[in-house]
Amino acid sequence: MTSTLTHGGAPPTPTKTVRRPWSVPPIRRKEMLAAYGFVLPTFFLFALFVGYPILHTFYLSTAEWSGFGDATFIGLDNFLRAALDPVAQSAFLLTIGWALATTVLQTAIPLVIAAMVATVPGPISVVVRTALFIPGIVSFVVSGVLWRLIYDPNFGTLNAAIQRLGVEGFNHPWLGSANSAIPALLVVAVWQGIGMSMLIFFAGIQGIDPGLNEAAMMDGAGVLQRFRHVTLPSLRFVTAIVLALNLMNGFKVFDLIYVMTGGGPNNSTQVLGTYLYGLAFGSTSGSVPQLGYASSLSIIVMALCTVAVLFQMRLSRRAGA
């Protein structure tokens, strides 16, 4: 049937081609085969190393398994156990709290800074944007190790600075005390996360029609009024994106906490990611890897991320409308 394609591109004569309902015209078939050839490699790898693993997690979450031998099916017991496990409970709440806190801080601060950057002369603007973005390009391991040195109780720069301000012998263990560990970690996360959001806001502000600001100025609007009535409403869509990106990144938290506190002291900085990683891979002497229980926590992390995605879809639909 495809042999009717003669050179010169003459269309096949209708009498020769028996048109079946499922048949595809020759060019389209070539296009289709090529398209599958182009898509298949990505899809194949995705199916093997992303798709199947996700489904496998659901299966594992209903089992008790150390990774060797046969898994025992235990239904929803892992989830029940998570609901009753005080560490899992606090890790769950901390993951949500962490995501909300980083989302608010990494959206509000960059928004204000971006609005400020937009008003200063070009060279200063470039310097500030570059400086604020640099922490965002290094790894969480680099920033985590670096900030551990800064927070070091005995020799850290932070305590040394406080001592220089006159507090004799101040050696607070910032990461070693349950009260200050989370705020100390948040500072690092915000330090690292501001730059990216700020650049997105800055690009958004550049896109605002300058006429709007001029008109507001003619009406006698001050800086704050213009921010509130011109900048903020114009950035609704961009803000929705930044909020959603930050929320998703917040739920993903792992590296920074793993490097800086490992979930301690006393599980006070344990989030779902660090807790499940420890259960599955951190087998200290004697403890058996608990892949089933850890997988049930993975499912909870996935659920949180899905909520963030839905939230983003909703926000951007509403902001775009």
């Binding site: 898509v39 899809f43 790898l45 693993p53 800064i150 793993y258 779902l272």
Partner: protein, 282 residues
């Protein structure tokens, strides 16, 4: 009337100076940890604690220590080649796939697209257990190839998404004209479409380079033989090993950040363009 305008511009100018001053202070505070890191790496190892902010004597001893005693060069090389290969694989996969979704028509196109993108935001921690088991099934545990495959599989959908957005901005006529000339689909892609996609390619490569170079969780879990490890897990373990030798530790951190800083400095414009594109198209 003119008086109010001048007074306004004067306060405006003063406001701008004040804003600049505040922003520069924030910038200094932001880069301070890096300045401190580099200064510490240049100190003599016995003068870290209690010395002045600017070291009295500058030495590169810490750099020679980190290169000599930690197998740093080998790990650096691991990071470099694994990152490069990952970038190449992701680029090949994502340009082909993104082009198909942007310009070609085929059954189940939307369904496949939705499936690929549905898991875009799944974090590594949620997948680490089954991915580990999957690598074990294929005998790819403790294998650098296995790690690269995991990186590429996880990252290709997002890059595909970026490339699709890019290819969609190219006119359809371009593809059709090339087809009329009798070129096959692969030839159209390689000869006509790909050369026009340079900005998109730059974006994908930059993103992938930073992401792979900085990746810690998978590398730390999948690889066990110390010689095979890339830099991030090594830096993590140096933290314990050199907990009292901050000069060596800081020298290692500084060296490890050189490639990402270079990428950022030289490709900043594409980077920011790509980032805003990615964010806005989301």
């Amino acid at each position: 009337m003119s008086a109010t305008i001048t007074s306004k511009t004067v306060t405006g100018r003063m406001g701008r100076w004040a804003t600049s001053a505040v922003l520069l202070l924030i910038s200094i505070a932001t880069v301070y940890p890096f300045v401190w890191m580099i200064l510490t790496s240049l100190r003599e190892s016995n003068s870290v604690f209690g010395g002045p902010f600017i070291p009295e004597r500058i030495t590169l001893d810490a750099y020679s220590r980190v290169l000599e005693f930690t197998g740093f060069v080998g790990h650096y090389w691991n990071s470099l080649w694994m990152t490069t290969v990952t970038c190449a694989v992701v680029l090949a996969l994502s340009t082909l796939c993104g082009y198909a979704f942007a310009k070609l028509r085929f059954p189940f196109k939307n369904a496949l697209y939705v499936v690929l993108l549905s898991t875009l935001m799944m974090p590594g921690t949620a997948l680490i257990i089954p991915v580990y088991l999957q690598l074990r099934t294929f005998g790819l545990l403790d294998s650098q190839l296995g790690l690269i495959i995991v990186y590429a599989s996880g990252a290709a959908p997002f890059s595909m998404f970026l490339m699709r957005a890019f290819f969609e901005s190219l006119p359809d006529e371009l593809v059709q004209a090339a087809r009329v000339d009798g070129a096959g689909e692969l030839l159209v892609f390689l000869r006509v479409v790909l050369p026009l996609a340079r900005p998109g390619i730059a974006t994908v490569v930059i993103f992938q380079f930073l992401a792979t170079w900085n990746e810690f969780l998978m590398a730390n879990t999948v690889l066990q033989t110390p010689d095979k490890l890339p830099l991030q897990p090594i830096l993590f373990s140096l933290q314990g090993q050199y907990s009292t030798d901050w000069t060596t530790l800081c020298a290692g951190l500084a060296l490890s950040a050189i490639p990402v800083v270079l990428v950022y400095v030289f490709l900043q414009r594409q980077f920011i363009a790509g980032m805003t594109l990615g964010a806005v198209k989301n």
